[in-house]
Amino acid sequence: MTTLDYKTLGMKAGLEVHQQLNTGKLFIRTPSELSDEIDFTIKRKLRPVASELGEYDKAALDAFNRDETFYYQGNIKNISLVETDEEPPQPLDKDAFKTILEVSLLCNSLPVNQAVVMRKTVIDGSNTSAFQRTMLVSLGGELDIGNKKIGVETIALEEDAARPIKKENGKVYYNLDRLGIPLIELATAPDIRTPEEAVLAAKKIGEMMRLTCKTKRGKGTIRQDVNVSIAKGARCEIKGCQELELIKVVVEKEVERQIDLLALKEKLNKEIGKTNLFEDVKEVSAAFENTGCKFMKNKQVFGMKLINMKGFLGEKVGEKRFGSELSAYAKSKGVSGIIHLDELPNYGISNIEVDKVKRILECSENDNFVISVTNKEKALDAFIAIQNRIKAAFEGVPTETRGALEEGGSEYQRPLAGGARMYPETDLLNEEITEATLKEIKKGLPKSVGEREKAYVKLGLNKNHIEEMKLNNYARFFSEIVKNGANPVVAATLLLQTLTELKRENVSVNKIEMNDIEELLLFEKKKKINKNNLKNALIDLSKGKTIDEILDSQVSVDEGAIQKEVERIVKANGKLVKEKGMASIGPLMGDLMKVESLRGADGKILSELLRKEIGKIK
């Protein structure tokens, strides 16, 4: 791709980042965990609600007319009556609310005085209630991305939707586990001027949210939408980039697409002009009676003549052809796709069949056509959508919502939504944000990455630990316990290495309370437990043992007793020791650890005495 001059192009972009929080669910007290274990499935229908003028949202009505049935799945450990829309919401999760206030203050956004929980109408089934709860928390602010500042417009707190599983024949399946997980939605001003700045801004936002130590990690926990426009182009929203680096490509490709659409506009107006462009939709099935095209055989096929448009559907638009743009509009009306003259012969459709279609549609030399395998009702809908898209091409770039594709391209999804359809959540109280609350939060605001790095160096952490800890969810817990007296190196090792090891060994680490970990580390500092025994202690904690029980089992074994056992084991394994010498230390150490009376003994002393004893034999 040639490098474009974004300044001359008048490129403007803004980001909308959605980050899941690792707190409790926003209005439900069930565990905020995903699980594919399914105990129950419930079946629901949704219907659109009329507005004050008795009107329905078009998207909502479309969904209702598709007569879809929604199947919600979950398990009894994770899902309550709130998720199934059988109970009013529970009070706001304080932890999530505190976190969004921290994020707001971190980027100088100013919280409102009364945050009001709203119901945003959603009827695609992704919310059992047919609305998503969301609240605007703060306005304004800025992000420093090094060479410039990017404005922040709004920061909102909302509930994530149910997790889509599959869709088949009017049955739409969702897992309820994700429903209600808090999301921070941060929208920037359209201050981004290059694709690189978009990546920097996204990185900055991600980093800032991670400073709170309350974000979820892993695939799907952060989703970015990008709004892009160029001068004379139009704002298009590309939804659902899951990777940072992809944002750059998404912006580049969208700019290229808009440039191509502007060129197409010139060409269309110059060569065709706004004359009569279309003729009525006709059935063209007769052309394919003996077709070699598998998906056309014995099917109803409909077609529409596009007057004077031969060649135009093959025009390059971004990475694809103008025909693909039309196809996406047609698909949004429920047809599986369209075929146009500019790409034929192809798909097993012969020239003879092309001529037959032309004859039925009465196409002359300069005319184009589109055909689609579908029923008449859907064909009419789809072809009207195509007509509208072609008309829009004479004007330039239509403003629309597009879905990001894996390699950075995008595809049309729906028209850009206007002001969302919201009304207050009457089941909940407004959340007042007082000066006192803000003062309190300001006092405890998380340290920046730079500050953290400096502090870690002072504490003597190694490079790897510093790198890993600075944006880790344990970072604030770590400073807290170190302040309370824990040994920094021991604590960092336990948090960053031991816990990960245990997770890998399938120990239920999530059953260990953070309070217990703190206590354990403080006892380590007081030498009530040896650091080499911390891993075993964590295993015991995960099995439900108390700190007192664990400490009681840390018998201080005197060296005499150890020496006795060492001598016994070395003697019993005389042959092995003679053969292998110092190399026998490994297996013998293993045997020593198994001795009941030595449980809790310092591993270092064990190995030292063992080494000495083996040395003697030699």
Partner: protein
């Protein structure tokens, strides 16, 4: 006394604070010549926002922003306030034109103030309740294929606040429709008192010749997931397809949007605070199930019996309000029983424990109080707080002691049904007749034998 003064002072302080707050907001409106409903723009933390001023009960400026959000702003923090215009009032809602179809039956839908037909006002965030037939048909056009609909607003009443006159208003309105000759009546009702109301209606409509179905919604109708539409459409389907006679409740059979059940009005009870399928048949099976998708009716009770003609219809709808309901528990005080005597209650339903026990206490003192109450001209009925199963007055000695007071054991009747039945009996019959009829099955409130298949507290 000291405490009182302190409270008073505190109240004054609070009042003063509130007044100051509102004054400040009012002053802000005045200064900027603004009022509720105005569209304004302003800057908050250098961020431009635009929105409509909506009512605020605190000191904050409440706006419905053009992004859809509501939010409250502290007046001292907003800058560059500018009036941009005035929001238009809500225009008349679009409705679709209704054509009567002579081949379809007529169903009357009566409203008691619940919100079966509501629209959401997205510009202010309010919910608008509609009850005229145009509103109903516009929101539920499926009804047009089922029947010709008449829609009547009886009154605006909060279900939890209903009194005898409200119940009478309802039975009068239903009776009027019966006399008009409609195919059936659907009564929209708040769910808290729905069971009580259905039971009263069942007794008031003697020889009810048509289906009268009470319908409610557990999830508000302003949301796309409301159960209201399915309950209403299923009720209309049942009426149009059957010749059921009597009063029933039509609500969700399970948490799924697949079947609604018709339950006998005297055997129905709200068993859950919030679920769609909160209404269950107790000591009884549902009458029938209606499939929402296929519109098929599946009879559970004997269809022939349920559709059998009865005698001449008569409205008997007086109610005695001096009837009580009291639950037995370990700390119950016999003074509580004395209260009903002192206040000259005409009737009392005791929600006894187990098979029908009340405490006996030393020297039968508690039972004696019940006896005194019975002798004082108050009709006393005994039901069980177990809800499921039948009371019995002879199994234990202590039960016999309670029965000997003259309190009447009411078999498997629900306590709330017993309350409404006794109230109705005392309103329309002599005390002697009331005593006689209380333990006699009139509307299915007492089943002849206890079924093996109906204990399902789930």
């Amino acid at each position: 006394m000291n405490g009182l003064i302190h409270l008073e002072q505190l109240n004054k302080k609070v009042l003063l604070f509130v007044i100051c707050g509102i004054m400040e907001l009012k002053g802000f409106y005045k200064k900027n010549s603004l009022k509720e409903g105005d569209i304004i723009s302003l800057e908050y933390n250098k961020q431009k926002v635009k929105g409509v001023i909506i009512p605020s009960n605190t000191n904050t400026l409440m706006l419905k922003l053009d992004t859809g959000y509501n939010a409250g702003f502290e007046i001292s923090k907003v800058e560059n306030v500018k009036k941009e215009g005035e929001s238009k009032g809500v225009g008349k809602a679009k409705t679709i034109s209704i054509k009567k179809n002579p081949s379809l039956p007529t169903i009357a839908i009566l409203h008691t103030g619940g919100t079966i037909a509501s629209r959401v006002n997205y510009s202010t965030g309010g919910v608008i309740a509609g009850s005229n037939v145009d509103d109903l048909i516009t929101l539920f056009p499926e009804l047009m294929d089922i029947a010709n609909i008449e829609s009547v607003l009886i009154a605006n009443m909060m279900s939890e606040d209903m009194r005898a006159k409200d119940f009478q208003k309802i039975s009068n309105a239903v009776s009027e429709q019966i006399k008009k000759g409609v195919k059936g009546v659907i009564l929209g009702h708040g769910t808290d008192m729905l069971g009580y109301s259905a039971a009263v209606l069942s007794f008031a409509l003697q020889n009810c010749p048509i289906p009268v179905l009470v319908v409610g919604t557990q999830r508000s109708t302003d949301r796309g997931s409301s159960d209201g539409a399915m309950n209403l459409i299923s009720a209309a389907t049942f009426i149009s397809k059957t010749n059921f006679k009597g009063v029933g409740v039509c609500m969700h059979n399970s948490t799924n949007d697949d079947d609604c059940s018709i339950i006998n009005a005297t055997k129905v009870r709200k068993m859950h605070t919030s679920r769609r399928d909160a209404f269950k048949a107790i000591n009884d099976t549902p009458v029938a199930l209606i499939n929402y998708k296929t519109k098929e009716i599946k009879w559970i009770k004997d269809q022939v019996k349920m559709e059998k003609s009865t005698g001449k219809f008569k409205l008997l709808n007086k109610l005695e309000e001096k009837v009580g309901l009291i639950k037995m528990h370990p700390w119950i005080n016999q003074k509580e029983i004395e209260f009903y005597k002192k206040e000259k209650y005409k009737g009392l339903i005791i929600e006894a424990t187990g098979l029908g026990h009340t405490p006996i206490r030393e020297k039968d003192s508690f039972v004696k109080k019940i006896k005194e109450l019975v002798d004082s001209d108050c009709v006393v009925g005994i039901t069980s707080q177990c809800l499921y199963g039948r009371t019995n007055s002879t199994v234990y000695t202590n039960l016999r002691k309670v029965a000997e007071t003259g309190a009447i054991y009411l078999e498997d009747m629900l306590p709330e049904t017993a309350l409404m039945k006794l109230s109705w009996l005392l309103g329309n019959y002599s005390k002697k007749e009331a005593i006689e009829l209380l333990s006699k099955n009139l509307r299915g409130e007492i089943s002849p034998y206890t079924r093996t298949d109906v204990f399902n507290p789930e």
